[in-house]
Subunit: 336 residues, 2 copies
Amino acid sequence: MGQLRKDPITGRWIIIAPEEDRDPCKFIVRKHTKKGGTCPFCEGHENMTPPEIFAFRKNGTTANTPGWQVRVVSNKFPALRIEGGLDKQGIGIYDLMNGIGAHEVIIETPDHYKEICDLDSAHIELVIKAYYQRYVDLQGDSRFKYIIIFRNYGLDAGASLEHPHSQLIALPVVPKRVKEELKGAKQYFDYRGRCVFCDIIAQELEEKKRIVTENESFLAFNPFTPRFPFETWIMPREHCSDFGHYAQSKDKKSVRELAKILKEVLLRIKLTLGDPSYNFILHSSPLRQKEMEDYHWHIEIMPRLMGIAGFEWGSGFYINPTAPEKAAECLRDVKI
Amino acid sequence: MGQLRKDPITGRWIIIAPEEDRDPCKFIVRKHTKKGGTCPFCEGHENMTPPEIFAFRKNGTTANTPGWQVRVVSNKFPALRIEGGLDKQGIGIYDLMNGIGAHEVIIETPDHYKEICDLDSAHIELVIKAYYQRYVDLQGDSRFKYIIIFRNYGLDAGASLEHPHSQLIALPVVPKRVKEELKGAKQYFDYRGRCVFCDIIAQELEEKKRIVTENESFLAFNPFTPRFPFETWIMPREHCSDFGHYAQSKDKKSVRELAKILKEVLLRIKLTLGDPSYNFILHSSPLRQKEMEDYHWHIEIMPRLMGIAGFEWGSGFYINPTAPEKAAECLRDVKI
């Protein structure tokens, strides 16, 4: 029999409905055959993108020329634009404002064919540091309330360009799903006096059933209430609500350990499931908040193995055929 | 410049980010070529499904044999099962219960190749009446708190069987997204003393820009804050919170008009966009509630023209390239 499970953060219910006689790691995965060709994100094509905002590059090389390791540019087709005022207004019962924000692309490597799990972890550290640099810079703009950093890999995850890249969007409002997460975490804290994320870490370490891997600074596990098969979260052991604070205050070791665990988890997902599409999203607190005792930044990785049907949209209720205990076992057991 | 728009019901923000030089009706749509073959939902194959729960059938024909127009059976691979107790329990900070519920399939026609927009509206009336019959019957089971009726059409909408069918799931909890909708509608009512849905109808009728079609009992329009291109809602003009109450209390004409407008809207979507996948979902109040003055049942239709990427999952923020004013214009103008 399946199970209904309630997410302790948001209150969302999900259904774990294992299909009997089904190999839990077998999903139909579309092949990612990179076509190559003329790519605006490849080295030597710097003039095909909007101007460079930030880069890690070899000494002596200049902006918008080859010689970079990680390069950040504006999205050529931005969902939001950086110039202008918000001009908030109402039309009858409806509220709207101008589409002001920032939409940037973090090109993770000059190499078209190397995904994060193929890069060495020193290089992934540079990617994380680029996230941090842009995060800190954009939070200086008082029009912005929230920054979301995310990565879409593969067609089923909505990636439109095949060159390895992440994206950053700075928003003039705190998005609804973030508000829900903050609210749930606050309710938990008000009731129990503890951070729900810290409690999750403690219980996962005790039960051990859903842990994928861990190191001194981070824990990677399949949450008790995964919306999707093989959904995996990476969470810092130490309480910290803001990714910006964390990356700033910690020694180099913590960033190195984040790079290492991110590489390892993505590699385990790739090898277990046959290189599926995935999204990952960095969840952090709203901008310019003091450290919050009830929120805990983390990364959520969602392999895109199944479509989302009407039931999920209508209800916010997710049906997942793979128990996270089983998924974690597969991810732990795969040879890397 | 794009626009940020706030949904007056849930408070969700969406981005309307029109791409210049783009035909608003041109999306890449996967062809729905039905393969036919041995289909468990076709007439004559009644023994391939679980036993019939309900059917409209010709006089003199017996259950689980040919002669039906609309047929309801249990889902052969149910997400939830009807037998057993809920057995609610906690494991540390986590909550869970048995996967108890009902998961039924409404087979809409014996004809494998006729979709809703191809059926005559008298037949669609039977489909709606079958929804109602199952709705009323299942709400007698006190374990269930909510019933969701939905339809997945096409591969991109998560349909796994090509024979025309809808689904019904009865749940032992009210899903989160429904709770949010109820809560937003209640907040609006508490503040303004009016139903937000009734206010939306009034404003849409006044502005006229987002209306697709209407008849005496129903209005079909593209909402001010569509999550997806060409998202279309069908709403009864008259205030009523519960689909079950509505279908029971109204004269035959209202059900006929619902059948007619559903057919017309689905036909307009098909002809405008080239037969895209879609989901539709019937939104109604929780079971066994008295009529609520702050909620209004309706149907939400979501063509599946684009994938959902990481940003949407992480933020609950949707980026939509097609303004609903433009979408409504296309849907109105198409020749049917």
